[in-house]
Symmetry: C2
Subunit: 310 residues, 2 copies
């Protein structure tokens, strides 16, 4: 009878790990650094050591562990192959198989954003919805498209790349993907900061943002304080994200949008701006959707990862 | 042992019916008019009579019939309820149950576009694909989003309303949905005709379209003949449809796009224009998708309908 499982969320700078009961209770969580030297060759051995160390520390026998679930950045195929990941330097890497060989435990995983979406669906803001879209607004913008209770992968593991829907033909700077005018260039944390800096530079208008180290959180705090320049940034943010979500609704018709990632720490104010433009652009039959904030924060990934092996 | 089934495609002006073997061979097809008076109260009794008449004519016993599958316009829920259909005047109508009561046969159905998508997946241009998007370009623009071999419904049966993705903020005339700048306003048959007429009116440029009764087919025939004005219409068509499909790819990452409906009779030339803009706007990881024409034409609906009861 299995009693425990592990959830592992591999990020570009840290690897988050969680020890769970098979009932889904998080017993303990911790982090280790992501060592990216030499195509991140140490990452999977480090994960294996961390898991094995925790089992020894807690006196957990191998036969008590259901397995290790993991989330990794970049597209992952249905067979669990990471096609390509620039940050980690991985290409056509079979993480499940390698981690199984290292630990002797069953291993299963997927893309990090989809994994976080699974976590929110299991224990967070998306719980109770069969059809939902989980969006993360962080350094980039990603999404997990949940259809009939399952996160869809797409034919090459690329479903949910909503951050690369084109929203602005006017902009000329390219996105990291090579395209121009991607939603991610506006609705991500760096996008919000960039819009604020541009507005500040373009005029002498007073703003409490002047002289500050600008972050997305600080912009939305200024919005709450009634700062007009910050409100203009929030309008643009809402316009671009609301538009992209209106297109998403026209394709998959979810019950709800769950908004997570670092930017979502701005709180409900963010939803007001997104909904305003969402309702402006969306097909009338899809107007009344729920917009909710994600609930698990940085733990969504380890929860979702754990759910793979349960 | 069941030997036959019926596929019924209810349109706004005609109802198409097909008698199939349970192996999926179309034995016979015919049409009856759609009588829309008094909230289309005659439609389901007419379908029942047509089916029963065919069974008598062919000497088919009730116990030999697997059932009647049907496609109807407008959103249909997973429970088979037509939420609302303006053309037929139906609202919260349980077509399956009413048709079962009229015929004593098992009945099952769904939205007409999704049904046609099922047909193309079963026997047409989408055969062999697990993840695909079937688009119909006709009086309107609809789509069936196929994920992992199934046409997805969405939470209110509205998945696939890609025709109402906003593509142009400049236009001021509203779409039938009440929104402004919907893709359907450009990429549908009436949209193409309207774009051509506007270009003809706006200048004296020579064009073989002048003086003709313009249809989408005639516009694309003119494109093939090298008519510059028609080619400008095709560029706009390709731009708007290609853009909307690039957004669709970023959300569901299909293997292929299957293009059907009346406009698709223009042939491969249409795909050239769509692909050109699709590749311009899409996220690089989704650039290499198949674009194919639908194969079943007007029969896609009855094939898909039959597949519901097999």
């Amino acid at each position: 009878m299995k009693k425990y499982c592990f959830g592992v969320d591999v990020g570009g700078t840290t690897i988050k790990l969680g020890l769970f009961t098979v009932e889904g209770e998080l017993l303990e969580k911790w982090e280790i650094p992501t060592r990216t030297e030499n195509q991140s060759e140490a990452v999977l051995p480090d994960v294996a050591s961390a898991v094995q160390g925790k089992m020894e520390e807690k006196g957990i026998a191998k036969e008590d562990v259901a397995g290790i679930g993991f989330g990794v950045p970049g597209p992952v195929t249905a067979e669990g192959i990471i096609v390509m990941n620039a940050n980690l330097g991985w290409r056509n890497k079979n993480v499940s198989r390698e981690l199984e060989e290292l630990t002797g435990l069953p291993c299963k995983g997927g893309n990090d954003v989809k994994t976080a979406g699974l976590g929110e669906m299991w224990r967070g803001g998306a719980a109770g919805y069969k059809d939902a879209v989980f969006i993360t607004l962080g350094t980039g913008v990603g999404a997990a498209i949940i259809v009939d209770g399952k996160v869809i992968l797409g034919s090459k593991g690329a479903a949910g790349e909503v951050g690369h829907i084109k929203v602005d033909g006017e902009i000329t700077q390219p996105c990291g993907c090579g395209g121009v005018g991607c939603m991610e260039q506006f609705a991500s944390a760096p996008g919000i900061v960039k819009m604020a800096k541009e507005l500040l530079e373009r005029s002498d208008r007073p703003s409490c943002l002047r002289g500050k180290e600008i972050t997305a959180k600080i912009v939305f705090d200024a919005v709450k304080a009634g700062d007009e320049l910050a409100m203009e940034v929030a309008e643009r943010f809402g316009h671009y994200l609301g538009y992209a979500l209106s297109a998403t609704a026209a394709i998959v018709d979810p019950e709800a949008f769950i908004i997570g990632g670092g930017v979502s720490r701005a709180g409900d104010i963010l939803i007001e701006y997104v909904q305003k433009y969402y309702k402006k652009y969306v097909w009338p039959g899809c107007r009344d959707k729920q917009f909710v904030l994600a609930k698990l924060g940085n733990d969504a990934g380890i929860y979702g990862a754990a759910s793979y092996v349960l």
